[in-house]
Amino acid sequence: MLLKLAWRNLWRNRTRTWLSTLVIAIGLVAMIFMDTMMVGMNTNMVKNATDSLMGHAQMHALGFRDEQDVKLTINDLDQALLQLEKHPDLKARSLRIVTQSMLTSSGGGEPVLSLGVDPEEEQLLSKFDEAIIEGEYLDSVSGQKLILGWKLAEKLELGLGDRLVLTAADAESGEMVQELFRLSGIFKTGEEKMDASMVLVARKTLQSMLKLEGRIHQIALRYSKLTQDGTPVNPLKKPDDSSKNELLLWTELMPSLYMISQMTDLSMAIMGTILFLIIALGITNTLLMGLYERMFEFGVIKSIGTTPWQAARIMFFEAVCLGFVSIIVGLILALFVTALFANYGIDYIGIEFSGVTFQEKIYPSYKWSRLVLYPFMSLGFTLLASLYPAFKLWKMLPVEALRKRKF
């Protein structure tokens, strides 16, 4: 009965109620939309980072990442590979030789990071094959072909077919060794570092040049099952220290990227609270107006035997009804808006954000937990908003209210 009373009271002033509904609903839409955009942006950034070279996880010998020492190759490679074979969620892996080196041509020299890869394996980990703008991708695990980024090509004024020399320290004596390559392809990834200072060559060629036959610096991994955060659902067990190898997830390889996604969660929470607080104040005002308008009526209600607590409940119920209507309207609007943007996406291509360049449009993406959280938040804040009016009604003396009659 009190609920019915509250519900009908709510619709007495339709304009006001619809306005309040709209305010709450828009708040909800804004929250959900911002959230889906943030999630979409994060997903995008993570996908960018993990798809372009890093993979979802990497294995190295302990110390390799810090020292970049050519001698530090993965220990007991066969055993490590065996472990990888067994894991059901592992989609792809690429065994790489990674070394700092000097690239020289007739036009000059540049320090570069050389990657020795099996082109077939590497295709599944990075996107160099798709990024070729001139010439072609590597085609064999051995041979003298080399591909590099368009910026580097420009700097050294290189053209397809040019002869190039890589110089690096070998693993046995640390002496400088050289190898002649031929430029077979130029790529454009959009990533400054890769386009300006990275070369890819056949793995076997680089292995023999550096006297690293059968040895590997880095295994990049791709998992098939990922959480919405982009972390593997079911990652490989970390090798213990005795193996002298390390296996790190992208969250550890690129902690700054991971932190951004954590921070956006926090900033969303703060923004959400502020937004909803503002809305709550508006609702309080609306409810209070309604209360003052109906003073006499509440006086009657209270004098004929409605206890203070029951009277306060009428106010709570009004708020709950308002909240529910708003949430329904808000959710429908939110689904509509995000669906709209999900279709078209938002174009941030080429814009760099904390070291990652957006390669694709951003599409809003839901986190289902949020879609539940925000409506509850709006309901919670609406209830919060009704606290003061309910308290007023609770302590209001019926005689005083009855004096407000306007005959």
Binding site: M1, R8, S303, I304, G305, L402, R405
Partner: protein, 229 residues
């Protein structure tokens, strides 16, 4: 044999303080017996409304004691008073008694719902009173769709259905023309005779006073006469 429903003893009521203090009631002693049909009369500002408010615990006294159905009102909390009124006192005001968003039926049911009266009995009681008051077929109307006299009748039905010990009505006919007012009073009188319901009401209208069985006259917050007819 006669049972007393309300005992008021040495009631004083003052509004405001110091310079602006107004003595609304001065040393009022009053007994209301079961079956009374009493009118409180007196000039405007004489304290009628104040007295009625005090008798049902809506307002508190400055000093003195009130007992309704044997219970002292001064000792009760706001919530206890509300529940006490719900069970023991029916109230009718001058106008706008009804909750505008509830239908006639729902308005009458309201107090019974708070009392947790079972649905079947609620229905039965509502229909008896609607018939008695000549309001059959109007149960699903909203108050705004009724005339002033009909609204007041619904208010009386609402006060009656909860089976209180007494009904207090502050100028129930003041907003009605004299004919409708007379009819309303007839109805109250009928409930008084047939159901032995106790009524105390205030009025300005001499025609209404005539129909009372007991006339309590207030002047300047004092009872100056209290006569049975």
């Amino acid at each position: 044999m006669e049972e007393t429903v309300i005992v008021a003893h040495k009631i004083f009521k003052a509004f405001g303080e110091g310079e602006t203090e107004i003595q609304a009631l001065r040393n009022v002693d009053l007994d209301i017996k079961r079956g009374d049909f009493a009118a409180i009369v007196g000039p405007s500002g004489s304290g009628k409304t104040t007295l009625l408010n005090i008798l049902c615990g809506l307002d508190n006294v400055s000093s003195g004691e009130i007992k309704v159905s044997g219970r002292s009102l001064q000792e009760m909390s706001g919530s206890e008073l509300a529940q006490f009124r719900r069970e023991h006192i029916g109230l009718v005001f001058q106008a706008y008694n009804l909750i505008p968003v509830l239908t006639v039926l729902e308005n009458i049911e309201y107090v019974m719902l708070l009392q947790h009266v079972p649905a079947a009995e609620r229905k039965e009681r509502v229909h008896t009173f609607l018939a008695e008051l000549g309001l059959e077929g109007k149960e699903n109307r909203f108050p705004a769709e009724l005339s002033g006299g009909q609204q007041q009748r619904v208010a009386i039905a609402r006060a009656m259905v909860s089976k209180p010990d007494i009904i207090l009505a502050d100028e129930p006919t003041a907003n009605l023309d004299s004919e409708t007012g007379g009819q309303l009073l007839e109805m109250m009188r009928k409930f008084n005779e047939e159901l032995k319901m106790t009524f105390v009401f205030s009025t300005h209208d001499p025609q209404i006073m005539e129909r009372a069985k007991r006339l309590i006259t207030l002047t300047d917050g004092r009872i100056v006469s209290d006569e049975l007819k």
